[in-house]
Amino acid sequence: MNLDFGCEYNEFRAEVSDFCSEHKGVQLTGNLFGRYETIKKRRSSNSDGKTMSLAEWQILLIENGYFARNIPKQYGGYGGDLDIVKNVIINTEFSKAGIPCGTGGQGIDFLVPTLLEMGTDEQKDHYIKSALHLETIWCQGYSEPNAGSDLASLQTKGVLEGDEWVINGQKIWTSTAKYSQMMFCLVRTEPDEPKHKGISYLLIPMDTPGIEIRPLVDMTLDAGFNEVFFTDVRIPATNIVGKRGEGWLVANKTLVHERGSLGDPDKMVSRLNLLIALMKNETMDGKRIIDHPIFRDRLMKIQGKTLALKAHGLRLLSANINKGQDVDLGIMIVKLYGTEMRYELEALAIDVMGELGTLYEDSPHIRDEGSWQYAFMYYLGLIIGGGTSQIQKNIISERGLGMPRAPKIKEA
């Protein structure tokens, strides 16, 4: 056991820390996705710092190597080596200083790595830089009304006519569709092949005629998702990543990435600290909630889980740095464990506030601008989205523990 990153990183940490203090209190204008949390994060860092746009900030971060660090310069990245420790240091220092990290999103988090691995040179040139610099916002067109957990049964159809794909069908749960210029989309192009082998990964400009977007309001009352309808949408035949019928393979590379990325222990720790602050402030019959034995015990329970997750994060990080540490099961459990736990944490905050915990929007007496109520519901969404908890349990038991799949039922 050795938790020291080594002295070569001390210099790097100092450098990041200098950048952070130089930009402390920076205020970012513009709100890319309309997500409540996004706005909140930006707003909470207010003080007397400089004001700049999200895109300007993003480019500044890339120039300094604090975002898109290991993406080649020719594609608009920093062009550094892949060094997980440095990424960790950047995240830690930024969060310590309370300044915003770079803006991700589905395009940057999922499409960019996919293109880097499987895109053509033209696609890389054309799409990566504009995505990183926030000139082009991307949305992900995967789920359909009848293809949720069973994603591979998707039915949106693509037919090649001359040098164009003609697309018909419907996608759902499309975050940020309203703000996006492009969609990376799974489309059934080989209807005669088995379901996993009949899908292609297509890139669709959102201003193509025949696309209709209908906002989908979720339980938080945010229109965070959309339905997207395609009627005879024509795009160039070259807008495909990988070969025809390889779309499932291409998409799965990024899904693995998504599932690993949803349980960030540092975020859980800082959320827990906000909960502790809330419990010190709120009173019941004049007594602080944190002195109330039952609430206190519940808080300690969640803190215990958080500390376990934090240590688990160190173990996964170590496996990333050192060859040969077996953490397959450890990775598989992160989405399930992280989202379920986060929901429990938010739920405790609601109970801490009692009746006040039911206030919403801009109600009088609302605490922390309603962020607890919002997150309480939002994280229920995350338990379901990106592979439900039940799907995660199938993955853990089947792939992790080698338990047999359920026998297939013949379709009626």
């Binding site: 170590s318 464990y337 349990k393 853990i396 359920a406």
Partner: protein, 362 residues
Amino acid sequence: MYFGLSEEQQLFQDSIAKYLENNVTIDAVREYANGENQKFADDIHQGLIELGINNLIIPEQYGGLGLDLLYATAVSQSLGAGIAPVPYVGSYVMAPMAIMLAGSEDQKTKYLNAISSNQLHFGFGASEYIASRENAGIVIDGNTASGRSLFVIDSLNASHFILTNMKGTIFIVSADDPNLEIVQLITIDKTSEISELILNNCKIEVLKKSINNTSIIERVVDAGRIMVASDSLGASQTMIDKSVDYSKERKQFGRVIGSFQAVKHMCAEMTANIQPCYSMIWYAAHCQDNIPEESRLMATHTKAHVSDIASSIAKTSTEVHGGMGFTDDLGLHYWFKRIGLNRQLLGGVEINREEAAKVQGF
């Protein structure tokens, strides 16, 4: 940066696991638990001492290996996994640690060397410092002590005991003292030995540095908590492994029960819950030796959290086995009971969480 057990620590775990697999069979444990083979536990104890479990953390100058608590934690996990019916946490971690931290040079030389060379071993009683039941407790008067200590761990054939009064003053009493009454308690877990000690003006040796310094007993208890948690971790993993294996063999409705989602999800949940416990225990152990500002918080939380997870695994894995899980034939209950005992030792979950809150000034 490397987080986890070293290759050497894993190899040592493997050697203990192999020894226990060959020698601590369910049949042997059952025989012992039924009082039919008292020699069994002694033999296993000797076998494990030959592997070196008794002198891990004792400094080399006193005949030990001078290893850290993480190493001791790795060993504890293997003992729990293999349901070893031997003294460990009290005898070979808490007792030497107390002597190292609070003993005089003479005491260290005398007792640590004796532990290293397997000439004596200690039982350990700290329950009354943590939370006294039945108003038990010990009063020290100069070089004598009187009172009661309930739930003294590792008392099997102990030659000496280390006890504490309610102020955290630590002292040694000999098992031969004519004024000491040792009452063997019978717990659900027949693989652990727990006793009540009744002292009536017993002659004692105080470990003087512990006088008016509760930080020593706290450190010793915290180390013990991590060891007990690790024992439960090992026991829990064994229960999960047995559940997964069983579910791949047992057939109902024409298919193995492991193909039913209801069963798969039970196994997945147990796995999801136990995985972070490994990291938590290792980190907590590392903190004891290297990150003092987090050591108390991590020890208390680890004991509470792992106990909760282990208890739920004990229940769920028994359920995966259906009716067989409830039988003595299968013997799964030995792990269930070990986890049940561990949960209460050195403070139950509520006590540990309350301490964790206090450590943070809440």
